[in-house]
Subunit: 355 residues, 2 copies
Amino acid sequence: MTTLPTALPATPPASPRIPAAPTAPHVLDRCRALVDPALREAVGRLHPWLGEMAAYSFGWCEVGGAPVAGTGGKGVRQALAVLGAEAAGAPARTGVPAAVAVELVHAFSLVHDDIMDADVTRRRRPTVWKAYGTGPAVLAGDALFALAVETLAAAPGGPGAVVPLSAALREVMRGQADDLLFAERPWTGPDRVRPAEYRAMAEGKTGALLGCAAALGARLAGAPPSTVAALDRAGRQLGVAFQIVDDVLGIWGDPAVTGKPVHGDLRERKKTLPVLLALDAPTPAARRLAALLAAGGDAEEAAELVERAGGRRAALAEAGRSVAAVERALGGTALREPAVGGLRSLLGFLVDREL
Amino acid sequence: MTTLPTALPATPPASPRIPAAPTAPHVLDRCRALVDPALREAVGRLHPWLGEMAAYSFGWCEVGGAPVAGTGGKGVRQALAVLGAEAAGAPARTGVPAAVAVELVHAFSLVHDDIMDADVTRRRRPTVWKAYGTGPAVLAGDALFALAVETLAAAPGGPGAVVPLSAALREVMRGQADDLLFAERPWTGPDRVRPAEYRAMAEGKTGALLGCAAALGARLAGAPPSTVAALDRAGRQLGVAFQIVDDVLGIWGDPAVTGKPVHGDLRERKKTLPVLLALDAPTPAARRLAALLAAGGDAEEAAELVERAGGRRAALAEAGRSVAAVERALGGTALREPAVGGLRSLLGFLVDREL
């Protein structure tokens, strides 16, 4: 076992034979190949109609059930669960029930979030509610949720893991609730959304499930509480960093890469971190931004003012602090290679996107 | 311990000092008083906005959070859980975490079902989605679901009870899916809904959670598998009987009592058991009913034809068979008084309504 250094850049490892860290695509492919059969077996236990909607949400089939080639999402959560088990010294398969559970929970939350946010496309296809109707999509999400809990609870060591999973879910829903409520609050004044509230929302909505995924893998591996807690912290901060990078891309990302319109989040008047940090700056650009947003002004001009008020830079600095927190969490406890290398590769893959 | 007789009317008890069976209102009140503080404590752990929607769904407050007097629903599921624990020889409080979990699950399913069925009122108030919006109602239901799982999993003996709860939920969702799909199927011909399919739907949608409630209470009491299974069977058949009686009331019930319009379920063209059984009868009235329904005809005339084709009588006979199955389940195993008397009182209360 190797205790890794707590700061970047990595100091030379204590062990002479640490294998090279696997690349993120390799990690994701390996974990997908391991988890996919169990995930499909679980979905196969659903009512056929609900199973079709679930399979559609995973990108496995078209409306009507015709199979399609394709992998759906990146599968980050299942990879975190498998790597969590391996980092705790267990074989990869130990993390599979946790991986299935977190992928099912993630699918459930996407299906329901798309209803809440009235989003009509996801991964360039109609969302489940758009394709099947709102009521059926509510039910399909519920069934995915129940299946996730059942899968985890039925696994060896799983019953004790249900409380952390459901507690994480309560946090996810708390974050989603705050996100929905943020939309109704003003840009400025005493009721404005503070950056600290945004961070708490992002940690709940995105971080809690990523942390839970890695921690559940370690739990099923019988890891001590300190290891479970370190992986939970690492996953949470990874989620926060990912969310902030997503916010930056939502304003300045290349539409050809993000699949979203230029300045999309500003057009939709989303309260994202770069904007909130810009509004908090004591600068003329910040004051002009506040006036522009209050008047419902042009998105391109708003993006320019967010940048001039330092919102983009400050947001990326925040993301950097979260990345450093991931590194501290991964380095501060006894975790096994090459799984930790895999976790670091995922971190880079998720955060170091086209900025 | 007293093994009760397997058939009605009850033969004299073997023990000389069996207390008189409590009445259903007394049972419901006692269980509510016991469970209510724990239920409110659990709901208090939610995000405040989600907690308000949850409290509204329980009938504890108005939109905005102002408290109201009133008890909301009957609380049958919490009573089944408490009586299940007592019937297995444990004190009532042993069943409380199961009672809280099943009430939370029931609330979740009502909030989501009202979205799926586009119902605008429940218990003479706007439904949650109507009062708060569809997206928030989806989220409030999800949060109630997660809270239910967390509450049960955190209870003494609870982790082992999560699999049966989530398996029951999968059945509930299977039943709800079939119910939604029934609406799209024809009244007659090879694709018609058969009475046996209806029974399976009702057992899933209504019976599974009632059975689970009673069984979970016994599980937390450490009851042997035969006791748990008997209570599960009793609750399931109680659910089926209740659903059939509800169907009969949905056509012939007094609007002043049911709060629903006369012949309401026929106006809404619901595929309920009396209609399906009537259509299956080889009589001229059944053929005229089929033609009338295909033509979208008058609800009063349809009710008359269902009755003449024997649908009402056959449905009530089915309900009677389910009641007998409840009695067999309660009588065929070692269960304690006065809890079994309480279960019988509930059975009578739920099934023997204004017919």
